[in-house]
Amino acid sequence: MHRGSRPWDRRNFLRAGLIGTTGLALADSVEMPFEFGSRPLVKYPQKRPLIRLTTRPPQLETPFEVFNESLLTPNDAFFVRYHLGGSPPPASVLDPKTFRLAVAGTVGKELSLSLEELRNGFENVEVVAVNQCSGNSRGYFQPRIPGGQSGHGAMGCARWRGVRLADVLKAASPAAGSRQVLFDGLDRPLVPTIPDFVKSLELDEALDSGGLLAWEMNGEALPWLNGYPLRLVLPGHYGTYWIKHLHSVRLVDAEFKGFWMNPAYRIPDDPCAHVEPGMTPKRTVPIRRFNVRSFLTSLSSEARLRSGDETLLRGIAFDGGAGIREVLVSTDDGRSWSGAALGRDLGRFAFREWTLAWKPSMAGATAVKVRAVNRLGESQPMEPLWNPAGYMRNVVERTPLVVL
């Protein structure tokens, strides 16, 4: 998809903007709607100015209006999230001519693959998939939770291209008794006592995940800050597994117990991954797949509309890979709901566009709410759920508006 190639909402968005606030980032900073929410907009290599949450290691957030530009998030606006003080790796260690992916551990055949060997030795495949940070929207949790205080911009949808993780694992002939696969990239600590960023998957899961070892994003090489030259793409799974600058895939015959699998990145072991605010879960499990989320993207909070003017509400919905079945929209703050039209299906892991024409008839304050349902019948709660790490927010979001 090309930016601006769709008539849908450009006009509508601009018009709304003319008579109200749009949240358009014209200034050099933005104010997130929570305490200590002031963020500079900063330009990084291969990126347009993005919302900087932290400087070292860098965490950059996509300005929300980008999600109304196109279903595929442009590479120069895609969010960035590193964990460790030595990140991002300097260009000098990312030479595409000498970069190698090692596949080792409990395998019959160890591999050391150049980018060219990966590209030429395995079938090349593409998938359109959302990547979302586990802590996307953490800033909105109440009570507040320490951690990266993201708004809704730590997510994005891209067309990824690479080879199947399963094909590469099979080429290494996993030994009988292999249990897990460990992924290591160049998100590295400065101090040797601090644990390297390593993530694990069960071997069966890794073989069935639909995962890619990807070098390309939206038709271009991965940007530096999104994992150049190779990253793991794990459709439907939280970004914590999408290891950037991936250089090592290691099979092991035991359960990996590294910091970044335990105690980090864990959720309460119950179907909704939540506890009462302030409580500690009895049992936790590693975070895995996205729950269902949906957003209004064509209007921002406190936008002003004119009574009697028709507007095309537009937004996005996604889930962990079942695919979106239905999007319901309320223009009266949740009293009544209408089914929105779903846009082109870019695959079950992609953002799904929704639209709904609306002609406000009553002046006054109102709010738009959006609620998606996936093909398994899973949906979003009307009231927010809480967990101690501030992961997986998926409450029905509410956008207050004013009709003049």
Binding site: F34, E35, F36, R39, V42, Y44, P45, Q46, R52, L53, T54, T55, R56, P57, P58, L84, G85, P89, P90, A91, S92, V93, L94, D95, P96, K97, T98, R100, A102, N120, E123, N124, V125, E126, V127, V128, R144, I145, P146, G148, Q149, L186, L190, V191, I194, G210, L212, W215, E216, G219, E220, A221, P229, P235, S248, F259, D345, L346, G347, R348
Partner: protein, 128 residues
């Protein structure tokens, strides 16, 4: 593997990639379910690592007595915006976070520096 530490590659790589790409890009069917097979071709844009430098400057903790333990022990691994963007937390929560950094995360913070770090956090980002 150990990634190369050689200085960045020659522009020839870029030229080769561009040339190969200009042979033409295949039209790719959209993935309805999962990954789909596509013809092999090299990535489209060249390696432009020469321009890959981070913007200069980073937020630091104040140069006063109170913040000195954070300048000394926290700023080694992260910029001060890791703290300035945090919500207000209780003393107990700040103590737990510093302890997590130390014991689980492995941050080299000496035990005798912990009270002063917690004091600073409570004073600047503590719940009233």
């Amino acid at each position: 593997m150990s990634p190369s530490r050689r200085p960045k590659s020659s522009p020839n790589v870029a030229v080769a990639w561009l040339a190969a790409f200009s042979v033409g890009m295949a039209v790719v069917a959209l993935a309805a379910v999962g990954p789909v097979a596509v013809p092999e071709e090299p990535p489209r844009n060249p390696h432009v690592a020469d321009a890959w430098t981070l913007p200069a400057g980073e937020p630091v903790f104040p140069a006063d007595e109170e913040a000195m333990p954070l300048r000394r022990h926290c700023q080694l691994c992260h910029s001060s915006d890791y703290i300035s963007t945090q919500p207000r937390l209780s003393r107990k929560a700040w103590e737990a976070n510093v302890e997590k950094m130390r014991s689980k995360y492995g941050a080299p913070i000496p035990t005798n520096a912990v009270p002063a770090i917690v004091e600073y956090l409570v004073k600047n980002h503590g719940t009233p």
